[in-house]
Amino acid sequence: MKKFAIAIHAGAENMKKSEVSPEKEKAYRDGLSEALNAGWRVLKKGGTAVDAVETAVRSLEDNPLFNAGKGAALTELGENKMDAAIMDGKDMNAGACSNVQQVKNPISLARAIMEKTKHVYLTSDGAMDFAREQELTLKPIPYFQEEERIKEWEKQHEKEKKKPEARAKLRVD
């Protein structure tokens, strides 16, 4: 069998083990396993590395436990603004997007930018126009707004209103 492999990550944080219930920990592990195995199956069938990383990241974006896609963090305006990038090591082609809303899987938008434009990086309205042109799946804003993220945002928003230097101290990458 030819070599193939995949690795994935979600956030790097300072959360303590005691802050995570066994149920929550299991949910994290299940979410990681699901994404890892989704990407691995693509490789096992002979799919490309680009297909595999897109598949794994889409799975993580669809899981509200992780800070991307559904469950993305909220900006100071209480909006979800998502960023993504993909790079193909074969030809060093790359695609990226930032400040996009309502795109269910920003990683697939990044891939479309890589493969279907002459550019590397589209942002904001232009990226959204391109997502619509490519008929990527869009979701209504409430789809992305998880209760836990809203609570995090309210806590941080209040803290920063009282103490502006607290900005971004709550680092949810």
Partner: protein, 135 residues
């Protein structure tokens, strides 16, 4: 932030990273994830890299490309490269960071300098490995 790196059966590497950014981040702020060379980088001859953590520090470290440079020009293994990269600008830049990387042999490098990084890997027909803390 979430991300993935992979090696396919044709020997090609790829990297992908996606993020919702920081809670209550300034409107218009863009982090490291979509910046090629900072949060994401791949060259099939050397390595594929995806980063997570404090975006400003990762951008100023050009972290993903740093891993590539350490392997290509210093000849480090993938694990040695991520270990060196994560603390390379510790005094000047600092920041909580996590890196995953994969070399053309499917070897995995993983590192983080904070309490945890949600992570996993699976190589060929081996069983999957999923980790959160230093377990």
């Amino acid at each position: 932030t979430v991300g993935a790196v992979a090696l396919d059966q044709d020997g090609n590497l790829a990297a992908a990273t996606s993020t919702g950014g920081l809670t209550n981040q300034m409107n218009g702020r863009v982090g490291d994830s979509p910046i090629i060379g900072a949060g994401t980088y791949a060259n099939s001859e050397v390595v594929a890299v995806s980063c997570t953590g404090e975006g400003e520090e990762i951008m100023r470290s050009v972290l993903a490309h740093e891993v590539y440079a350490l392997m290509k020009y210093k000849g480090l293994s993938v694990q040695e490269a991520v270990d060196e990269a994560v603390d390379m600008y510790k005094k000047k830049i600092g920041g909580d960071k996590g890196i995953i990387a994969m070399d053309p042999n499917g070897e995995v490098g993983m590192v983080y300098n904070c309490n945890l990084m949600f992570r996993g890997f699976r190589q060929g027909g081996d069983d999957p490995v999923v980790r959160i803390w230093e377990d």
